[in-house]
């Protein structure tokens, strides 16, 4: 690499993003495309050009899983590590790939060609196992596909020259209701809302009782009103497409199959609150979707549904840009998302103030989920009352469920709110079901006696994940997987979540090794309580959910991992010799220490 080449690349990137520091994350993502990592001199040059402290730039790189301050090889292969991918055999496939490429997980091959590791759920649970190759998703992995990928890497073929079908995935829509069967043309909903006028449109939103589909369930119209009434003139609309909750993929399908509804929903929000700028914050895992989304935006501009004087209304100016995430689940939390949009580390803010008054760059901002915004089109087309006519008393309308796991027909199901868990299980062809995880890792684990409960904000709330486990599964392993996910994704801001999620994961590791004791179960319950009560944001307070539910409903699955002593130490005498064995290349009996000296005597 000739000296000064990075200076030129940095300069090109700066020009592309208008030298604005709030585009730092986007610049880093773009810069990394050159060599698959960000060398120190690139960070120094970028920091200097933006007049930012270098350490701040380094801090942003260090925060996001998909940004690398060290080389990761020409091909970076990341296996989706959700429990559902594991149930589909991801671990064996990863071992096969590592074996073929002669490398160990987490390490870069000696020739610098490739590295293999795991990543959090990539949102392809209905067609797993899945992986990312330099950020681009490949679904439906099997031994044949792994061998093909391995061969392509050996040939050092550029990703653009790989067979396109590798990067294609299905939109498995199993059941349609109001939203997924909507046949409106681009602009229909906007035309209707414009005809109503801004205030009447907001009244329709109020009448619809639409609540946020991202999980929290805040009433959308209340958010919009607060933003509209905030004193600052300039307003922002953000679509939260950081669909990171393990087991969720309905936003992926909406963005792929119904992007017009999503963008139109954002424009409807802009019409209500008076925003001129909109952002789609797209999780890095959904990079494959970006070209089509950009094309849709371009078409909508050409059609007059974005840009100046939308629908012929003077002063209704609004446009949307796409920002990419870079592998950080916490950025799905709306204030962390705003930090990330501003090019910073995705640390959740102290609230209040709330985004509706102090959001993106301190401007009043509405942040809505992909599905929430798409639903706004239905309200504009058919009116608030029609929307509120389906669902339950506190949960109007329908809900998209991302069904995966042990069932005959995984995919997207649209049901009116109030559907029972059993109805969903019947629809997807699940049998011998031991448990259902509703709402993702942060959600709730339901046992068979609860399958009569309803999906609704007033009973079982969910952002859309619905993972099915049959009676051959170990619910301890499920919770173990989820807790490791939270430990990996904790932003590290507050003490309870930063340390507590790792301590919890460590204790579950100990149980998984068969070294648990009753004291560990008490410790787990204590950590659960602290995480729930003292964490700064929802990530930390939700992290213990799978374990709390597991201990309550599937306690035998945990007790099987106990040694039935009051206490046993985590320290592994034999494990301490692992490095010595590795160095000497020995693995015979003489290179091991007995685990329980008393018993072996």
């Amino acid at each position: 690499m000739a000296l000064g080449a990075w200076a030129q690349r940095v300069d090109e990137t700066l020009t592309r993003f208008g030298r604005r520091p709030e585009y730092l994350l986007q610049m880093l993502i773009a810069l990394q495309e050159h060599e698959n990592w960000l060398p120190p001199e690139a960070l120094t040059a970028l920091a200097a050009a933006l007049d930012l402290p270098r350490a701040r730039v380094e801090g942003v790189v260090g925060f996001y899983s998909f940004l690398h301050a060290e080389p990761v090889g020409q091909y970076r292969l990341l296996f989706s590590d959700n429990i559902i991918d594991r149930m589909c055999g991801s671990e064996a496939l990863m071992a096969r790939l590592c074996h073929s490429l002669w490398l160990a997980p987490g390490q870069v091959s000696e020739d610098g060609l490739a590295s293999v590791d795991v990543t959090s759920c990539t949102g392809l649970g209905d067609q797993g196992p899945a992986m990312l190759v330099n950020g681009r998703a490949i679904a439906a992995l099997n031994e044949d596909r792994i061998d093909i990928i391995c061969e392509l890497i050996r040939q050092k073929l550029a990703l653009d020259a790989w067979p396109v079908e590798l990067f294609q995935f299905e939109n498995t829509i199993q059941q349609r209701d109001a939203l997924l069967s909507c046949t409106a043309l681009p602009g229909d909903a906007l035309r209707a809302a414009i005809a109503m006028g801004r205030d009447a449109w907001l009244s329709q939103m109020q009448a619809s009782r639409l609540r946020g589909r991202g999980g929290a369930g805040f009433t959308t119209a209340v958010k919009w009103l607060a933003c509209r009434d905030a004193p600052t003139v300039e307003k922002i609309v953000v679509c939260n497409a950081d669909e990171g909750e393990p087991g969720t993929f309905k936003d992926r399908v909406l963005l792929d199959a119904h992007a017009d509804l999503v963008f139109e929903g954002m424009t409807l929000a802009a019409w209500a609150v008076g925003a001129r700028r909109g952002f789609l914050y797209l999780r890095g895992e959904y990079l494959n979707l970006r070209p089509a989304l950009e094309a849709t935006l371009a078409r909508r501009r050409a059609e007059g549904w974005l840009g100046a004087s939308i629908g012929g209304v003077a002063g209704f100016d609004f446009d949307i840009e796409i920002h990419l995430g870079a592998g950080a689940y916490v950025c799905g939390e709306e204030t962390a998302l705003l930090e990330s949009l501003e090019g910073k580390r995705g640390t959740p803010r102290i609230r209040p103030p709330f985004p509706v008054t102090h959001g993106y760059l301190g401007l009043p901002t509405v942040v809505n989920n992909v599905e929430t915004l798409a639903k706004c089109c239905l309200i504009a087309l058919h009116g608030g009352a029609a929307f509120a006519a389906t669902g339950t008393a506190q949960s109007a309308g329908t809900k998209l469920l991302s069904v995966s796991g042990d069932c005959a027909r995984p995919g997207i199901y649209e049901f009116p709110f109030g559907v029972t868990v059993r109805q969903v299980l019947d629809a997807c062809g699940a049998s011998d079901t031991l448990a259902v995880q509703v709402g993702g890792a942060a959600g709730i684990t339901l046992a068979p006696y609860e399958f009569g409960r309803r999906v609704a904000f007033e009973d079982v709330p969910t952002a859309g994940a619905f993972m099915v486990f049959n009676d051959t599964r170990d619910m301890f392993e499920v919770a173990h997987n989820f807790v490791r996910f939270f430990a990996h994704e904790s932003c590290g801001f507050c003490t309870p979540c930063r340390v507590g999620t790792s301590l919890l994961a460590g204790t579950l590791d100990k149980l998984a090794e068969g070294k648990g004791s009753p004291a560990d179960l008490l410790e787990i319950e204590d950590l659960d309580r602290l995480l729930k009560q003292a964490s700064h944001c929802g990530l930390g307070s939700a992290a213990p959910n799978p374990v709390i539910d597991g201990l309550q409903k599937f306690r035998p699955a945990y007790e099987r991992h106990l040694m039935h002593a009051d206490f046993s130490p985590a320290f592994d005498l034999d494990g301490a010799l692992r490095r010595a064995r590795q160095i000497t290349g020995r693995d015979d009996a003489g290179a091991h220490l007995p685990q329980q000296p008393e018993a072996s005597r």
């Binding site: 790189v61 102290i350 990996h488 904790s490 930063r498 301590l503």
Partner: protein
């Protein structure tokens, strides 16, 4: 005009509009434990040691506005147990060897552990690998003791106008970074008389060659416990 009040552990505390629980308590001579909060900076809310219970919810006293008539629980067995657990987490996360630490006796983390009667680390130690940075002629950085309060980050940025420090990494792998491509403090514009050089509540940022000028046994928290030292000395003094 009479000021509004709230109840802190059953006793009335007056407050001004917009004042946070911790600040109001402090002004009234009532101590709520804190590590990342500092009177010269806006609330940060990361250490969570100032956790209090208000209407059944556990909130950070430093970042929660006081409300008239609110009942705030702070010095209770439940909340102090929670604080002790948080302290234990901070101790096992880093490498804290008090007997060998030159900040011993002047360290807020250590003093708080005494204050809250923490007697064991309880959890398994993480023993992270955090090399020290002795490159600067006047100041040593011992990252082993960092508790991520970001006071040095904030002081350097907001008071020294330098931005010598920042955080990098994520979760349990979070790290304090120094503003230089080499990663060495010597290659920054850091100076020993910066505000950031004097603000570390633990033993990360240490002035060289004066470590034992005050003998152990005669140091700040050897003379008086943290809950006394941390309060303003008189009205208006922070």
């Amino acid at each position: 005009m009479s000021r509004s009040t709230f109840l802190l552990d059953g006793q009335s505390v007056p407050f001004d509009d917009g004042q946070m629980i911790l600040e109001a308590a402090r002004a009234a001579g009532r101590y709520i434990p804190h590590l990342c909060w500092h009177p010269d900076f806006p609330p940060h809310g990361s250490c969570k040691l100032c956790v209090v219970k208000v209407a059944g919810r556990h909130v950070s006293a430093c970042a929660t506005p006081a409300r008239a008539g609110a009942e705030v629980e702070s010095d209770t067995p439940e909340i102090n147990t929670e604080r002790r657990t948080l302290l234990q987490m901070l101790f096992v996360e880093g490498n804290h060897f008090c007997p060998a630490c030159e900040k011993s006796g002047d360290c807020q983390l250590q003093a708080m552990a005494y204050d809250l009667e923490m007697t064991t680390p309880r959890f398994r130690h993480f023993f992270p690998d955090r090399p020290v940075d002795a490159s600067h002629p006047e100041v040593l950085l011992d990252f082993n003791r960092c508790i991520y309060c970001e006071l040095c980050v904030r002081a350097s940025r907001e008071q020294d106008g330098k931005a010598v420090f920042a955080l990098t990494g994520r979760g349990i792998n979070k790290k304090l970074a120094v503003n230089a491509e080499s990663g060495r403090l010597a290659d920054t514009d850091f100076a020993a008389d910066d505000k950031a050089a004097r603000i570390c509540p633990v033993g990360v940022i240490l002035k060289k060659r004066v470590g034992f000028a005050v003998p152990i046994g005669e140091r700040t928290y050897d003379r008086a416990p943290l809950h006394e030292v941390a309060l303003p000395k008189s009205e208006g003094d922070t």
